[in-house]
């Protein structure tokens, strides 16, 4: 398409020379503008253009000055002058002639004159004073077009002080019979209000009249004024709420003339204006907000998604809904709407979706949760604007748990855009703010490289204005922090503060007394909670700062305390000594810590060449040559000297992975690898044991040992590095995830670290905690020689039988591993779905024949069916140790529990879940029940679902899956009777849950 234009453009010169062509009429060679444009098009260099325009301007200048130039010629000249100005060449000599043209020309010439004035001049220009009389005259003209022109120029620029001169005439126009005049008069008053609000104070009543004008255009224009007024003082205009709501309802309802439609949407500009006004009126005012809920809902509903313009309205509507006093039902709808934006493939809508999210997460951080994956994708978007908006969004949901990842992302962004210093400024501040809030929250548990990164961010970069501002900003905010209560600030944060103050306090020195920062630092030293490490940072900062006499005195004071009152810490004494010496010797200090050297990064001489002299002297004096610790170690080994190593691991517990059969590998292996004793059990099972029985017993001997194992397995992983459920550290390496899935998993992992700490419906399984499936393993007599296996899996216990009870108690030590047996395609490459239960008997019954172990089983990954496999090893006193395998099939339904929620909560959850599935199911028909009720009852009975509500032909059902900590993960079902089937829509935060649950629903209904 654009090629065509380029061709046209390149053909331009030749076209212009053909005066007989159709297009040439207005570009006739006699047209001087045509000639000028043609001339410029032919040029090849900027320099040539300059020469040409200079020549043109000379000729214009000559012509405007000539008394023989007619107004008609003047109009043509003025157009050329505008053109030259647009190209960037000043034609200031023509300004006065533009005013003259507006004054003296006929209507058409006047129009060009006014245009030139509005393009050439600023409202501060003194030339404008010359225009006042002309405007006044035209305002009073009987020619409507002249009045319009005058009002147009007035609405664009008018000298503030001259407003009273024309105000009465403009006011008069508010009652003009023509709506176009009334409208322009309102806009002129709006302009007056903006530049001089006091001047129009007395005509507020007339604004109201304009608001009630029968012409919608005039009314729309008056809303500009009202938006401004209400924004500044909402309290005084609450009485207008009703009118605004009525107007909006009429507009939305399509009551305006069709002229006002834009792409068949009724007056979108007006709608948006009204929505903005309502936002200001309803903000923090429940009563007023209640008046507008209905119309807001209607706006949302009416704006069907089809065109940009409806998205514009929706966006504004969402903003308003989130600004006024909240109403949960509306918020839900608005949240859904934001979802549509975020998920849109159109980049503009996506951007606005992110923006809307940024706005709403400030109220409810959970709203970001359903969009985790989209946000992650946007973080790597090729468009920097999208990236930046995403970071802004993340910045809003930063908390102590996800700060690490977010700050890292920000720094990453920063490094990529280092040339754009406005971006550095922005993100730098973001990082800075995050640091302050988050250092104070979780400073000490943070990884040390975060503060380091931050300090580097501050220190790096050229010494431009932005960097200085950022540093000064940091210094100022830290000083004010230190002035407050410091006891609660984490040590690491205090260290950062000390360093920053030491380096950059000089930036603020001109405006405050030099001792103030020193005093604040000294105060830190006095406080008892300040750690030794922090103290040494503080002393270092003081060393950098002690330039003024006040500081020197303070420093000396501090040093004396440390040196003479006997601090035992050598590092502190050393630092204090340095401070002492440097504070007394200004010359030395200037050499050691040059002020101008701050910004240069020091050169590190890694070869330590400056020590060469010293070394050669020492060697000459007979010293042994230097050997590295590694060399020394080797020497020791060669000399067979004492081994300083602690005893090596001598137990043959190396994992016998080679001998593991298919049956147990790889799952069992992965489970066992965490438990040092397991391999012995395995090898024993394989009959390849070389261990004494006592070995077995010792490993599994006392409860304490086993309990230790278990607790180790269940220690919550540090929050910063939480694994997502799919990437749990237990996942055996042998189970290769298909490569296509890897990036996705990476994203999920990133998501889990970014969104950690948000919301109760966290879709990430963070910590495995015992929950609710109890597994009873019971010994009972059986004639069967084989060990375990008969398993009755009822409600939730396993009843396994064991053979040959010899009277005395059987010690049961269990290693249970979960293994999936269902080989559905999508899940075969994933780790086991039941969490590992390491085998500590919670309770051991020294009964005659029974031992009870309680174990917790949760389903880590939703699946139709899982298999629980385990190994029981037991030993009779004095007998051979024995082991037995068993396995159990557990269906998803064993892990399901009813989820009791209210309809309202259901609605909220529904919106926030991202994994969904729709399917038609068979309806159960009985004689005495509605099909829907019967079907849901059947599901309820078989799958432990909770029927939340049934309304008409729809029913909502909820359940939860015992998957991780606490309540487990929810799955919601929305069922609707459709013809003679049941349309079921499942949603859950767990990816595979809807699918697996649907399978069981199908099965349950088929069996009925």
């Amino acid at each position: 398409m654009s090629d065509v234009v380029e061709k046209t453009l390149s053909a331009l010169p030749s076209l212009l020379s053909l005066d007989s062509q159709a297009g040439a009429g207005k570009l006739s060679p006699s047209s001087k503008l045509g000639n000028l444009i043609k001339g410029i098009t032919e040029l090849t260099s900027k320099h040539e253009e300059e020469t040409l325009i200079k020549k043109e301007l000379e000729s214009i200048k000559e012509q405007v000055a000539s008394p023989n130039t007619t107004m008609r010629q003047m109009k043509e000249i003025m157009v050329r002058a505008i053109y030259c100005e647009m190209l960037g060449y000043q034609a200031s000599f023509s300004y006065i002639h533009a005013i003259k043209l507006a004054q003296q020309g006929s209507v058409l010439e006047k129009r060009v004159g006014y245009l030139a004035v509005s393009l050439f001049l600023n409202e501060t220009d003194e030339f404008l004073l010359l225009l006042v009389n002309t405007v006044l005259k035209d305002l009073q003209s009987t020619n409507l077009i002249e009045v319009c022109m005058a009002l147009t120029v007035v609405s664009q620029m008018f000298p503030k002080d001259m407003i009273p001169a024309i105000l009465p005439v403009v006011e008069e126009k508010l009652t003009h019979p023509k709506e176009i005049i009334r409208r322009k008069a309102v806009l002129a008053l709006y302009k007056f209000y903006l530049i001089a609000p006091n001047q129009v104070q007395h005509i507020h009543s007339k604004f109201r009249k304009a608001l009630c004008d029968k012409d919608p255009g005039v009314m729309t224009a008056s809303l500009h004024i009202y938006l401004q007024l209400i924004k500044e003082n909402p309290e005084s205009y609450k009485d207008l709420t009703g009118s605004m709501v009525t107007i909006l309802r009429q507009v939305v309802g399509g009551k305006l003339p069709l002229d006002f439609n834009y792409h068949s949407v009724p007056a979108p500009w007006l709608q948006i204006q009204l929505l903005r006004i309502l936002a200001y009126l309803g903000k923090e005012d429940q009563g007023t907000s209640e008046m507008m809920y209905d119309v807001l809902e209607e706006s949302l509903r009416r704006a069907e998604m089809n065109h940009n313009i409806t998205y514009a309205i929706l966006f504004e509507c969402v903003k308003t809904i989130y600004t006024v006093h909240p109403k949960s039902q509306l918020l839900e709808k608005a949240a859904e709407c934001i979802g549509n934006f975020v998920l849109s493939p159109k980049i503009n809508l996506k951007y606005l979706g992110l923006k809307a999210l940024t706005y709403v997460v400030q109220q409810d951080a959970n709203l970001a949760l359903p969009h985790q994956m989209t946000i992650i994708e946007c973080l790597d978007h090729s468009d920097v604007i999208i990236k930046r908006e995403t970071l802004e969004l993340l910045f809003r949901i930063t908390n102590a748990q996800n700060v690490t990842v977010i700050v890292e992302k920000m720094l990453e962004f920063l490094r990529l855009t280092c040339d754009d210093y406005s971006t550095i400024d922005l993100v730098g501040k973001v990082a800075e703010l995050t640091m302050n809030s988050v250092f104070s929250l979780g400073g000490d548990v943070m990884q040390p490289d975060i503060p380091n990164n931050f300090l580097r961010l501050l220190a790096e970069g050229v010494d431009n204005v932005e960097d200085r501002q950022l540093r000064l900003f940091a210094v100022d905010s830290y000083v004010s922090l230190l002035q407050g209560e410091t006891a609660k600030l984490p040590q690491r944060f205090l260290q950062v503060i000390s360093w920053v103050l030491g380096e950059y306090s000089y930036l603020r020195e001109e405006e405050s007394d030099p001792g103030s920062v020193m005093r604040l630092l000294a105060r830190l030293l006095d406080q008892r909670h300040t750690s030794t490490e922090t103290r040494s940072w503080v002393l270092g900062a003081m060393t950098k700062l002690c330039s003024s006499p006040v500081s020197v005195a303070l420093a000396r004071d501090v040093c004396e305390r440390y040196l003479y009152s006997g601090s035992l810490n050598t590092v502190l004494r050393q630092k204090a000594q340095e401070l002492m010496i440097l504070s007394q010797d200004t010359k030395l200090r200037a050499r050691v810590l040059p002020a101008e050297g701050r910004l240069e990064s020091p050169e590190v001489d890694s070869s330590l060449s400056f020590l060469d002299g010293y070394v050669s002297d020492a060697l000459a004096a007979g010293a042994a040559p230097y050997k590295s610790p590694h060399q020394r170690q080797e020497d020791l080994v060669q000399e067979k000297a004492l081994s300083l190593e602690p005893y090596g691991l001598s137990l043959p517990v190396s994992l016998s992975s080679c001998s593991i059969t298919d049956r147990r590998s790889p799952t069992l292996l992965s489970m066992s690898s965490g438990l040092s004793g397991n391999s012995t059990e395995l090898s024993h099972q394989e009959g390849s044991t070389t261990l004494k029985l006592e070995g077995v017993k010792r490993v599994w001997g006392k409860d304490g040992y086993l309990a230790q194992q278990q607790s180790a397995g269940e220690t919550p992983t540090p929050l910063v590095e939480l694994p997502s459920p799919l990437l749990s550290p237990q996942s055996p390496p042998s189970q290769k995830p298909s490569s296509g899935l890897e990036p996705d998993q990476e994203k999920r992992q990133l998501a889990s670290s970014l969104f950690v700490g948000l919301g109760s419906h966290n879709s990430v399984c963070l910590v495995r905690l015992p929950s609710t499936v109890w597994l009873f393993i019971k010994n009972c007599q059986s004639a069967n020689q084989s060990n375990v296996v008969k398993s009755l899996f009822k409600p939730f216990y396993i009843n396994s039988c064991q053979s040959k009870n010899h009277g005395s108690f059987v010690k049961v030590s269990g290693i249970f591993a979960a293994r999936k047996s269902c080989q559905t395609d999508d899940s075969c490459c994933f780790p086991p779905q039941i969490s590992c239960i390491s085998g500590s008997p919670l309770k051991e019954v020294k009964g005659h024949s029974v031992s009870v172990c309680l174990h917790t089983v949760v389903m880590k990954r939703a699946s139709v069916q899982v298999e629980l496999a385990g190994l029981l090893s037991y030993q009779r006193p004095l007998g051979q140790p024995q082991a037995a395998q068993f396995s159990l099939s557990l269906s998803l339904k064993h892990f399901l529990r009813p989820l009791t929620v209210s309809t309202g909560d259901y609605g909220k959850m529904w919106l926030s879940f991202s994994h969904d599935l729709k399917q038609n199911l068979r309806l159960v028909t009985t004689e005495h029940q509605e099909p829907l009720t019967a079907t849901l009852d059947a599901l309820k009975g078989k799958l432990h679902l909770h029927v939340v509500d049934i309304i008409g032909s729809e029913g909502i059902v909820a359940c939860r899956l015992l998957q991780g900590p606490g309540q487990g993960q929810p799955c919601l079902l929305h069922c609707r009777v459709h013809a003679d089937s049941l349309a079921v829509w499942l949603r859950s935060p767990v990816p595979e849950l809807p699918d697996s649950l649907l399978y069981h629903c199908q099965k349950a209904l088929t069996e009925t």
């Binding site: 234009v5 046209t8 505008i82 647009m86 664009q156 322009k184 834009y262 948006i272 503009n348 090729s382």
Partner: protein, 155 residues
């Protein structure tokens, strides 16, 4: 709205309208840098920019870029539609408008803009009304506008 700029793909300014008082120097600087920034953006990228402290909405029609700077709380999408409506108005007025129409009749383009946006606010969004106002003024003109057949912006 703070200002509107029309410029070609080659970075040549075709029309500029400032609704905030700025010095010529500032205007030139903003124009130069903004034109560069917008031209550097790829076609599939977002139409909105946070550029310095400004919010910029731009859209390309054939060889011409329409670019508006708006206030922070303004609605980006509606600004995009303002641009579109303006192009529609130009199209209706010139009859399948092309860049050349705007180059050679830029004062007309200004008149239409002033009738549509006044002081940076949409004053009349009805296409019919805007064109009626322009044509009334034009009636006084003795010159008639010949038809164009160059490439249309709106196709």
């Amino acid at each position: 709205m703070q200002f509107m700029l029309l410029f070609s793909r080659q970075g040549k300014l075709r029309l500029q309208k400032w609704y905030v008082p700025l010095s010529d120097k500032e205007k030139k600087k903003i124009t130069r840098e903004l034109v560069q920034t917008v031209l550097a953006r790829k076609p599939k990228m977002c139409s909105f920019l946070e550029w310095r402290d400004l919010k910029v909405v731009y859209k390309r029609y054939a060889s011409l870029y329409f670019c508006c700077a708006i206030e922070n709380q303004d609605n980006e999408l509606i600004t995009l539609e303002i641009i579109h409506r303006y192009v529609e108005l130009l199209d209706k007025y010139f009859g399948s408008v092309c860049e050349l129409d705007i180059i050679f009749n830029f004062e007309k383009a200004y008149f239409i803009l002033d009738e549509f946006l006044l002081g940076g606010e949409a004053q009349d969004t009805s296409k019919k009304n805007v064109l009626k106002a322009i044509e009334q003024a034009d009636l006084l003109a003795e010159e008639n506008r010949p038809r164009q057949f160059f490439f249309s912006l709106l196709s």
